[in-house]
Structures are given as structure tokens and as C-alpha cells.
Amino acid sequence: MTTTTPLIDWHALGQVLLTSLVLGVGIVVLFSVCVYSLSQFRRGGATVVVRATNAIVMTATLAAIAASVVWGLYIIIHK
């Protein structure tokens, strides 16, 4: 019995689509949340609690973006 290799690597294409979809949309969403929090942080009249919450959200989203970029580059370099 012979096995044939498919002409088009659908599995690899699917992986590209899935990875790009998750990372691409994920990073854009995280950064948008960060920008929104920054906007709320800068808005006048906000209470200390609101400002602190927005600062935490900003830091967390930026850290998540940085982590995903570093992780992505690490995988590319080390595999």
C-alpha cells in the first residue's frame, strides 16, 4: 500500500489561519482595551478606584501583548 503526500498542505494552511486569527485579533483587541482604559484614565472627574482599575487594565493588556510577541519570536528562533 502506498501513501501519497497531498499537493497542498491543508493542515499547515489551517494552522496559519488559526494562529493568525487568534494572535492577530487577540493583540488588536488587547491593545484596543488598553487604549480605551487610557482614555478613561485621562478623563477628568474619575475616582481613584476607577483610575487605579484602568491603570491595572492598561498594564495587564500591554504585558499580555509583549508576552505574546516575545513568545512568538522565541518559537520562531528556537524551532
Partner: protein
């Protein structure tokens, strides 16, 4: 076949191709950044060129695909590689003159395939490799990019709808600097490797390296420097097309399109797919236009660019084959000099023609042209009509 003179010429022309690849594709990474004013044009290309150099050192998977998956390595000879490079440079320079963001990768692959067919016939081309590793990813990737960028732009627009415009605009521009940097690394990773693959192919053809050898370090260094220098020169004509032509880019769109392009290119590079970074970047920019509330995209320009994409592989193949026949006509050693001289004359003519309508860092964001003006007017008319409806 050992011929050090021919090998040296092939390496020089390969680096020249890498240089044209750099300036032809500068737009992929910097067009949205320049168009939205996130960075000054000169600063944007300087940053991009440095990061292209960094990207060239990250991976060698695409180089391996180009070196072994397109044509039969055993049948390749140096004049074939030379002819392929001449074809690719000729097509790159032509499309640059017309400001068309076509694929340098397809030009390179088309040139090599054309020259190989002229030398040894269609049997020496790995058609399965071209279909599976080049054509399929190149068709799929821009569609992925368009869809993801459209989705990203739509979600981002809604999430930041209640943000104040000044903060939003500033934040997204800062984000664009980051995403443009990532995209430049992605471009260096994917595109510099293609020339590395071709030089490796030449070294194998000359008998300097064994079949299926890995790319030597000096090749990686030279290719990284060549693409970085090309990027620094800045292909302003194509930057204008991509930044101003397809849609009016806002910082939110610019950010979403650049992030999308980066992740699609990096994930493809990781899997060894030599896809066109230009097609991905164009797909992302179009997608970011689709993701806006009014979905303003200049589809007629996109259609014309699409026609150029379809022509890239066959035209570069014809140029590559013609160059190979020319080399054979004069004898390979004299022939490569003659074809190299013809290419130099052609590039000089194109350069002087381009000076009649010069695009540079100072005017890259200026008025695009009559066709876009007409498009904007029709869009404004549509808005007025829509606003008048109950």
C-alpha cells in the same frame, strides 16, 4: 561545474535582487505608519531597515524551501540562477516604476522557473512544490489577512468608540510603531531568506556545497545587509500606493492591518512557506478598509493590482527564460556579462523615467491622483445621500 567567476557574478546579482526586494517591499511595513503620520517617512524606513536586518537572522526555513522545493537541484546550473535573477530584477524594477505592490518572491520564483524551463524543460520544475508551497499559500494568505484585518478593525473600532479621539489617535499611532517594527522583523525573516535560498542553490549548482546543504552564515549576513540597505532607500512610489491608494487609513486601521500582516507572515515563515509579504500586507490594508463603518475601499485599484499579481509569475518567467537564451547565445561566461549589462541599461532607463514624476519622503503623502479624488467624491456623495434618508 566549477566556475568561480560565474558564481561571483551570480552572488552579486542575487544581492542586487535582495536590494530591489528591500526597496520594493519597504511599503509593506511602513506604508500605514507613514500614511497616518505615526512616524516621519525617513524615520520609518530607517527603523524598518534596521529591523529587516534583525529579521534576516531569525530563521532559515523559507531559505530551505526556496533552495530545494522549486526546481530539481541536480539539473540546475549557474546561468539558470543568473537568468532567474535577471528576470526577477527586471520585473521588480518595472512594477516599482508603476507603483504596483507586486510580489518580489513570485518574481524570483517565476524568473528561476522560466530560466530552468529554457534550460532543461518543464520536467526540471517541481510543479507540485510550486503549487503546494508557493501558489496555495500565496492565494490563501492575503484572503486570511483581509478577513482577520477586517475583523480586527471592526472590533477595535467598537471597543474604542467611547474613547476620546485625541487619546485614541495617539495610542493607536504608538501601537503602529510597535506593529510596524514587528512587521519589519517579519519581512526580514521571510524575504531575506528567499535570496539566501537562491545563493545556496547557486553554491550547490557550482559544487561548492553538497545537495540539501544548509545556508552558510556569510550568506545570511550579506543578504541581511542587502535587504536592509534596499529598505532604507525606500520605495516611495509603492509606499504611496499602499498608504494612500487602497483606502484612507486611520491609526486604528493602520494598527490592525500591521498586526495582522505580522502574525500571518511570521506564522507562515515558521512553517517554511515562502509566501508573498506584499500580498499579505495588501490584503491586510484592504481588510482594514472593509472593517470601517463606511467600508471605503478603492476596489478598482485593488483589481488592477490583482491583474499585476496574476502576471508576475509568467512575466518574470518569460524575462528569466529570455535572459537564459541570451546567455546561451553568447556563451555562458560572455552571455552573463551581456545580460547583466542589458539589465543595468534597463534599470538606468527606468530610473531616469521615474525622475519625471519623482515620489520621495517629502511628497509621499501628497495628493494621490485624479482617480482617488473621484472615488472620494463618490463616497462623499453616497454619504450625503445616506444622511438625507429618513
Amino acid at each position: 561545474m566549477h566556475n568561480s567567476f560565474l558564481l561571483a557574478l551570480v552572488i552579486i546579482v542575487a544581492l542586487a535582487f535582495d536590494f530591489t526586494n528591500g526597496f520594493h517591499d519597504t511599503a509593506n511595513a511602513v506604508a500605514p505608519t507613514v500614511a497616518t503620520g505615526a512616524l516621519k517617512p525617513r524615520v520609518a524606513v530607517l527603523l524598518s531597515s534596521c529591523l529587516n536586518l534583525v529579521g534576516a537572522f531569525l530563521s532559515l526555513k523559507v531559505a530551505a524551501t526556496v533552495a530545494s522545493g522549486i526546481v530539481q537541484q541536480g539539473q540546475i546550473i549557474l546561468p539558470v540562477v543568473f537568468g532567474g535573477l535577471i528576470g526577477a530584477i527586471a520585473w521588480n524594477v518595472t512594477t516599482w516604476y508603476f507603483g504596483i505592490p507586486s510580489s518580489s518572491s513570485h518574481a524570483l520564483i517565476g524568473g528561476v522557473v522560466g530560466a530552468m524551463m529554457a534550460h532543461a524543460g518543464g520536467g526540471a520544475v517541481i510543479w507540485g512544490g510550486i503549487t503546494g508551497k508557493v501558489l496555495a499559500p500565496s492565494i490563501a494568505a492575503p484572503i486570511f489577512a483581509l478577513l482577520i484585518a477586517a475583523l480586527g478593525t471592526t472590533i477595535s473600532r467598537r471597543l474604542t468608540a467611547k474613547s476620546d479621539n485625541t487619546t485614541k489617535s495617539w495610542g493607536m499611532r504608538v501601537g503602529q510603531i510597535g506593529s510596524s517594527s514587528l512587521l519589519s522583523i517579519a519581512h526580514g525573516t521571510n524575504d531575506a531568506q528567499k535570496t539566501m535560498g537562491v545563493i545556496t542553490l547557486a553554491l550547490v549548482a557550482n559544487g561548492t556545497l553538497g545537495a540539501n546543504s544548509t545556508t552558510p552564515k556569510w550568506v545570511v549576513v550579506l543578504c541581511g545587509i542587502a535587504i536592509a540597505l534596499g529598505t532604507f532607500i525606500g520605495g516611495w512610489r509603492i509606499i504611496r500606493t499602499m498608504g494612500q491608494g487602497f483606502t484612507k487609513l486611520s491609526p486604528t486601521q493602520g494598527f490592525a492591518s500591521q498586526v495582522t500582516s505580522s502574525v500571518v507572515i511570521l506564522s507562515s515563515s515558521h512553517l517554511g512557506m515562502p509566501l508573498s509579504t506584499t500580498y499579505v500586507a495588501t490584503g491586510s490594508i484592504l481588510g482594514s478598509g472593509v472593517g470601517t463603518r463606511k467600508r471605503r475601499v478603492h476596489w478598482s485599484l485593488a483589481g488592477r493590482v490583482g491583474v499585476a499579481w496574476l502576471l508576475t509569475l509568467p512575466c518574470a518567467a518569460v524575462f528569466g527564460a529570455a535572459s537564459f537564451y541570451g546567455e546561451r547565445l553568447f556563451g555562458y561566461t560572455v552571455g552573463v556579462l551581456v545580460m547583466g549589462a542589458l539589465l543595468a541599461i534597463y534599470c538606468t532607463i527606468i530610473f531616469f523615467l521615474s525622475r519625471r514624476d519623482q515620489i520621495h519622503a517629502g511628497n509621499v503623502n501628497d495628493h494621490w491622483g485624479e482617480h482617488l479624488e473621484a472615488f472620494e467624491k463618490s463616497a462623499q456623495t453616497a454619504d450625503v445621500v445616506a444622511a438625507g434618508k429618513p
